[in-house]
């Protein structure tokens, strides 16, 4: 607690200093997550391009089980500093949580290339291969001497599952209701609909996990450009087209169709699906 007082005093004396990184981490370790969050956010406002600040924010969000935003922040940290091992380990942890072992291993391997002598990375890779969750990153790269990492909240975390609502009814009557329409919440959990790839394999959970955070990122991009609220995202793929919409602020709708369906028509179909999803969500 003395540390926290001393660090708070230092920060009060010099609000522009980077001491907020140590204060935020100290508060996080004490479990004072709301206070840690405020410190991290204030620091980020002053240092928006500092990778360590995004890393700290991500660790606090992850402690609060806000994995979607945690992913965004670690993703941003790596974009600012591609060799940021804290962020690489954080992304590995979150990829593992959604069941994407390949991406988790790739991120740990990238961290190992940066810090080949860090035994914790090798240990995390070994744990992951045994099926256990790698440790949740807890120390900023700038402060690697701090205490040992706490273990993840759940060592058997699996990909997000459906919510148990009557999901088959969301898009009842709409073409492709069970293979090309998907409704998820902000954390990438399936609310309704289903997706199958061209081979007929169910890819619902995987796609849902990857889409977690897209809504927030689209909103941030539109806001940054002064474009107001985002209303949709259309994409032409080599074998199919997709349209994303958000029926409510917390939900995301994905419509997938063959390449032959023009984006304009896809947007109309998405509008109909959005209305159905909104009504269905209101009834829940």
């Amino acid at each position: 607690m003395d540390d926290i007082r001393a660090l708070s005093a230092q920060l009060a004396q010099d609000p522009q200093s980077l001491v907020f990184l140590r204060l935020g981490e100290a508060l996080r370790r004490k479990g004072q997550l709301e206070a840690a969050l405020r410190v991290a956010m204030n620091g980020l406002e002053r240092h928006p391009h500092l990778a360590d600040a995004h890393d700290l924010y991500a660790r606090i969000l992850t402690d609060k089980h806000d994995y979607e935003r945690g992913f965004d922040e670690w993703d941003m940290a790596v974009r600012i500093a591609p060799h940021h091992t804290g962020a690489l380990k954080g992304l590995a942890f979150l990829y593992f949580k959604v069941g994407d072992i390949e991406q988790a291993e790739a991120h740990l391997a990238a961290a190992k290339r940066v810090e080949p002598d860090d035994p914790s990375i090798e240990q995390a890779i070994a744990m992951m291969r045994k099926g256990a969750s790698p440790p949740e990153p807890s120390a900023a790269a700038a402060d690697s001497s701090t205490a040992a990492s706490p273990t993840a909240a759940s060592s058997t975390a699996q990909a997000p599952q459906g919510s148990g609502l009557d999901e088959a009814r969301v898009f009842a009557g709409l073409e492709g209701a069970n293979e090309g329409l998907l409704l998820i919440d902000g954390a990438g959990r399936v609310l309704g609909g289903a997706l199958k790839d061209r081979a007929g394999t169910d890819v619902t959970d995987t796609v849902a996990a990857y889409l977690a955070g897209v809504s927030q990122e689209a909103a941030r991009t539109a806001k940054l450009l002064g474009l107001g609220a985002w209303t949709g995202l259309s994409a032409e793929g080599q074998q199919g087209n997709v349209h994303l919409a958000h029926p409510t602020s917390g939900a995301l709708l994905l419509v997938v169709r063959e390449r032959g369906m023009p984006l304009g028509r896809l947007a109309i179909l998405a509008q109909r699906a959005t209305l159905m999803a909104r009504r269905w969500l209101e009834q829940q």
Binding site: L224, G226, E236, Q239
Partner: protein
């Protein structure tokens, strides 16, 4: 590069165009109207492109050849090339088809 950006920004309603490194979201070249935060938009566009690519790969639609973020007061249009994203920021009433063509041309011409 600047010629490719010229062609895109000549389309009426386009407020700016950028070439962005798909890998790290860094601006490679830009022609933007004042007030557009190029580096921040580039980072977010690259991040969004990465998420979209992973989701579309998983959905079996293949990589995105063009994507378009629609918002109340404008749009962000993106064509991914080899390691590069060609990005346009546009007004809401822009001719999307025309911008899409110019973005695709820029990529086909190898910038």
């Amino acid at each position: 590069m600047s010629q490719a950006l010229d062609m895109i920004t000549r389309v009426r309603g386009v407020r700016g165009a950028m070439l962005v490194s798909a890998e790290d979201g860094i601006v490679v070249a830009e022609q933007l109207m004042e007030g557009i935060k190029g580096p921040a938009v580039a980072a977010l566009a690259a991040s969004l492109a990465g998420r979209l690519r992973r989701a579309m790969d998983a959905a079996g639609t293949g990589a995105a050849a063009f994507w378009h973020l629609q918002a109340e007061q404008g749009a962000l249009l993106v064509v991914p090339g080899a390691g590069i994203l060609v990005v346009a920021v546009a007004e809401p009433d822009v001719n999307i088809g025309l911008v899409r063509l110019e973005l695709l041309r820029a990529v086909e011409a190898g910038l």
